[in-house]
């Protein structure tokens, strides 16, 4: 019989704590598959965020570090500088990477740290109960913008990936999505590329993943995927940014 799916080695066979329809579980698996494909589990070190994915190290089977909320890229910078032969990546939410940690993000990118970043954009703060994120869309209702994001009050959805494209230290930026199987496969090859770049010593690579949070979007898992397709990707266009 032809086997079409199995759990990749770098992923533990444990149910996750994520809500039904959440994108984090898919993104974790993609990362694990890429690490498996590249044969780098034994030399990979991840830095987990503070956000819904805080216990990513309970699901991955390789060395992992915690970092305070927003500081993953500072932690990762030092791990990589101390151990340049290892493969070091961060996995961060939009609050983590583009609000509290914006400074670390910009400066790690600008130094051209040879790191890979998996950036989970779900346009919300999942872990703390669905508050406004820097990436929240105009009009999107959150628990701290009950009437919807208002540009006069909250500013605009922050396009951190486009901002990073200006920095010479950044070698690769791509925005992908998890809203259907075809996009999931594209997301995997983007993540693979980000790791491959690091193996080749090319510098800072970041993959922004549009990821569903049905719970705090107030949608069913299915509707959440459609919302990415119909609404979110208009604000955050998919494809290669750099």
């Amino acid at each position: 019989m032809h086997k079409v799916f199995s759990v990749p080695d770098p992923l533990r066979k444990t149910p996750t704590h994520y809500c039904p329809g959440c994108g984090h579980g898919i993104a974790h698996r993609l990362v694990a598959e890429v690490i498996q494909d590249l044969g780098i589990r034994g030399k990979t070190i991840a830095v987990a965020p503070v956000g819904c994915a805080v216990v990513a190290y309970d699901y991955w089977k390789f060395d992992c570090s915690e970092a305070p909320h927003g500081r993953a890229l500072a932690v990762a910078t030092a791990i990589k500088r101390m151990q340049p032969e290892k493969i070091v990546f961060t996995y961060q939410g939009d609050g983590d990477l583009a609000a509290i940690g914006t400074n670390e993000t910009i400066h790690a990118a600008n130094r051209g740290e040879n790191l890979s970043v998996v950036f989970i954009n779900n346009a919300i703060y999942g872990m703390t109960g669905g508050q406004l994120a820097p990436t929240t869309l105009l009009g999107q209702k959150t628990s701290t913008s009950a009437a919807g994001r208002d540009k006069k009050l909250h500013g605009y959805p922050l396009k951190i990936s486009e901002m990073l494209a200006l920095l010479p230290g950044v070698c690769y930026l791509e925005r992908v999505s998890l809203h259907n199987p075809g996009e999931v496969l594209k997301a995997k090859s983007a993540i693979r590329r980000a790791f491959q770049n690091q193996l080749e010593g090319l510098g800072f690579s970041l993959v922004e993943v549009l990821s569903p949070c049905p719970t705090y979007w107030g949608l069913s898992p299915r509707e959440a995927l459609d919302w990415i397709r119909d609404v979110m990707q208009k604000e955050f266009p998919l494809g290669r940014i750099k």
């Binding site: 070190i45 987990a48 991955w60 390789f62 915690e66 500081r71 500072a74 400074n103 400066h107």
Partner: protein, 357 residues
Amino acid sequence: MMNNKKILLSGNEAIARGAIQAGCGFYAGYPITPQNELIGYMSNHLRDSGGVFIQAESELAAINMVYGAAASGARAMTSSSSPGISLMQEGISYIAGSALPAVIVNIMRGGPGLGNIAPAQSDYFQATRGGGHGDYRLIVLAPDSVQEAYDLTREAFYLSDKYRVPAMILGDGVLGQMMEPVELSVKKAKMGDKSGWCLSGCQGRQPHVVKSFFLREGELEKFNLKLQKVYRRIEEKEARCEEMFLAGAEIILVAYGTMARIAKSVIMRLRNEGKKIGLIRPVSLWPFPREAFRAAGRNTEYLVLEMSYGQMLEDVRLAVAGRRKIEFLGRSGGGILSEGEIIDKIRSLIRKPGGRK
């Protein structure tokens, strides 16, 4: 025979050289007066010994880089001065909570707020009570000479590694900037084995996780109790202080760091006049050398001197536990007690009705 070299160094440079001598493999920092010679020295010299230097984008980044380097198994250090150390507190708490060794240097300046760049000792509470959130402690060492700045920095690395507790060197602008001859060590640093927990890739072993997050019921309390045990051991074993003329002393001055240097000259002057004045100089501020306060005679009084309005004073009170009288003299925010001010205070204590002649 190998002769140890003596050279003239500033306190800041001595700390940097002590760190490199101790095998410091990583330094990250952000410029702030009065410790810029330290980051400057590291930027020029750490690489020569195979270490990594990063000028971080902020103290937040610096302390979290230290976290990453420590998690990698390196001896890691950062340095700053008061406002920068305040900014690092979350990271220091994470380092303590992840049982990582690291050395943090605070060359204190006047506060609160931006304060000024004058020397001060007003971060004592922050240093000795943990500083950030949670039930944790730092090993805090307070040198009073450039030689000791060099020696205690090395000691800080060893103690921090030994207990997996972050250590702090607490100095001030005077100590950081003054020049004194220092005898450099030629001993090669002994590096402990961290392969049982550090992050190096899981090739041939189970994955390691470095974290301070304990979500499951009872887990965090268990971890905290383990930390407390380590802290009790440190309290038993690692308290250090310098004692001078305690036997028969009628007044014992208590001072650390720069303040202790001034106290020492006061003592020399007054002892020449036949006054019975002694000194307790805590070298470790945490653990506080409580035992040193047990021996005082029945009529002994303590006079605590600080470049703050009475922070170490609280530890002296706890150590003395009401058994003796404690007086205090302090200035902060740019003022440093002069020998004259201290001598006046001592004379007033001696002259006081019911006091000694």
